[in-house]
Amino acid sequence: MSVEPAPSAVDAPSAAATGTGAPSGSTRRRLPLTGLTALAVLILLAAVPLFVAPFQTSMLARMLIFALLAVSLDLLVGVTGLPSLGHAAYFGVGAYTAGLVAKYWTAAAPVPLLAAVGVAAFAATATGWLAVRSHGVFFLMLTLAIGELIQQLAESWSGVTGGDNGLSGIPAVEVAGQPLTLVGYVYWYVLVFAVLGFAMIWAVSRSPFGAALRGIRDNEPRMRSLGYSPFRYKLAGFVIAGAVAGLAGGLLASQQFALVTPADLGFTTSALALLAVAVGGAGSLWGPAIGAALVVLIRDVYGPDLDGHGTLVLGAVFIVAVYLLRNGIAGLATTRFRRRGPPPSDAAPPPDPTQGATGAPVSGGFRQNRQDGRQAGESSQRLDSDDPSSDPPNPGVKRS
């Protein structure tokens, strides 16, 4: 009984996975079984409360929630190329909003969640408007600062948020006037909305809008010359990601005996989400969901057995992922599916930057995709092949 949750736990977020269909790098062909796999995993996930003990079920619900946070972050990191260190802020804003709405107004089913999504989207708009103007490290620092600010706000506004003690006494969510007190029902409630959230992110990433986001990730100046305003697209992506993170937060607050603390919107949560994205494989959407499950598994399930050294194991996992799996867990899976031959360990070493014909597209948000400066045999028929300003990346072309 107690053995069972682990494997199914890892399966859990791959529902998201399969929901997300073909990875966003999108030169890969869609696996023919994707739809079926999605359905199978979904059924498996839905059946979990029927077979698994309540404690493990609620652990699985936590994984789903954290997976949803990681997937929403992946829309920023992997698809748009905006690595954020403050994404938990919107998660926390959603959690507090849902908690407060349920506590002081109504706990009737979708209301706290809708409020969470709305307020998180608003917060993302207000802060993203500033943040998405910056690039690279500045974006990282700015989102970190925003996250810290919001955490400070949660800590010091104790009349509303309960301060350091957190927001407690949130009533159980009510469906059709009946409070959901059984763990299994709460789990289903979380599952339904988590799948909705995954589907939303997946749809956005596969839409024409999502293609534009990937274009911005790959080459922002070129997008401008095509008539796209990167600012607007990035802001919209930021708000969508924030709204879904808010949904995940709302789900957190709808769990039984929920307690929302400032730690939920702090740096640690943001960093863990980013870790989940990196380990799972940025840009694939389903990879980060698995990564999130792994993170929760290590920190909350095995962590207590390790005398609280769970974070240490997480660090080791991160290092292994960075060195051995350049595209995370998702990279592993796609490599294995695409070229049957080599075992995953063969696929692990970093792809040759010059990229072979089938080289898995590099879609990591951490590695900014650089423009290819190497241009084969420039300057053959030129009048002025000694023009120094015209081709800086290629100063050494030698013709004799």
Binding site: G25, S26, T27, A203, V204, R206, S207, P208, F209, A211, A212, R214, G215, D218, N219, P221, R222, M223, R224, S225, L226, G227, Y228, S229, I240, Q355, G356, A357, G359, P361, V362, S363, N369, Q371, D372, G373, Q375, A376, G377, E378, S379, S380, Q381, R382, L383, D384, S385, D386, D387, P388, S389, S390, D391, P393, P395, G396, K398, R399, S400
Partner: protein
């Protein structure tokens, strides 16, 4: 004939350096116009001023009667100004078809659509354009696996997908083989006349094959605008080009064979490793 693009006193300075200095230029609608000039003449800067990538410090830019001086690059692109870049500037992780689709969906489809959808007219357009530039076989290949020449062809398809009225081409033949640049010439010649083309090119064979009007820039100013024959015959143009060549040699005394075209790339190579090459570059 009305001018599609009018530049009046357009200038851009970087500190004390006037990279482009009071350029007046009229490009007729449907024209095939080339910009040439020796190194540092300000061709690329002028290009950026037209595309809006860089703001002018003086003068006005007018696009089909509307002043666009203050408009951003994005806005100008929306008004039918497309460009191909000097260095292939594409979306490397995506396939050729996706690259073109990205441009096409902005101008034809619904780039803001948040749900997956089949954009039939975008797909058709992508097929047509890849066909036109001769890349239909390579549609599903990631750009990172395309050859240099193929990337330049793709650049053109991407630019055409913006449905431009004015197409700016920055050294489209750079790095192309003779066969490839011949193909490029055909491609540009085959463009419909409702697309006006401005081309900056070093390969004078390409320039004289394509352009009906040629503007020669020198030290940020217009030296001459005329037909290809006028430009070929102009003593001032000869001097501008050769002058820059001899000046380059002032800074690299080791270089030999001053007027032989074969000699100059060699001279370039010989200055690569030398400390004084930075002086040469500064010219």
């Amino acid at each position: 004939m009305s001018a599609l693009l009018e530049l009046r006193g357009v200038g851009r300075s970087f500190g004390a350096l006037k990279a482009v200095d009071g350029v007046d230029l009229d490009i007729e609608s449907g024209a095939r116009h080339a910009l040439i000039g020796p190194n540092g003449a300000g061709k690329s800067t002028l290009f950026r001023l037209i595309s809006g990538e860089m703001a002018v410090t003086s003068g006005t830019v007018t696009l089909s009667g509307d002043e666009v001086t203050k408009l951003s690059q994005v806005r100008r692109a929306r008004r039918g100004l497309a460009q191909t870049m000097q260095h292939s500037s594409l979306f490397l992780t995506q396939t050729a078809a996706q690259n073109v689709a990205l441009a096409a969906q902005r101008h034809r489809g619904s780039a803001r659509w948040l749900l997956p959808r089949r954009q039939r007219d975008v797909d058709d357009r992508v097929t047509d354009l890849l066909d036109a530039v001769g890349l239909s076989e390579r549609a599903q290949v990631p750009v990172s696996s395309l050859s240099h020449g193929e990337r330049r062809q793709l650049e053109i398809a991407v630019a055409l997908a913006c449905e431009p009225r004015l197409l700016l081409m920055d050294e489209p033949a750079a790095g192309m083989s003779l066969a490839e640049s011949g193909r490029l010439t055909e491609l540009v010649l085959a463009l419909p006349r409702d697309i006006t083309v401005i081309i900056v090119e070093h390969d004078l064979d390409v320039v004289f094959a394509l352009a009906e009007r040629v503007t020669v820039l020198h030290l940020g100013q217009v030296l001459l605008t005329g037909s290809p024959d006028e430009v070929r015959g102009s003593a001032a143009v000869q001097e501008a080009y050769l002058g820059s060549s001899t000046r380059g040699e002032l800074f690299a005394p080791a270089a030999s064979t001053p007027h032989s075209p074969q000699g100059r790339p060699k001279a370039n190579v010989s200055t690569q490793g030398r400390p004084e090459s930075s002086l040469g570059d500064a010219s």
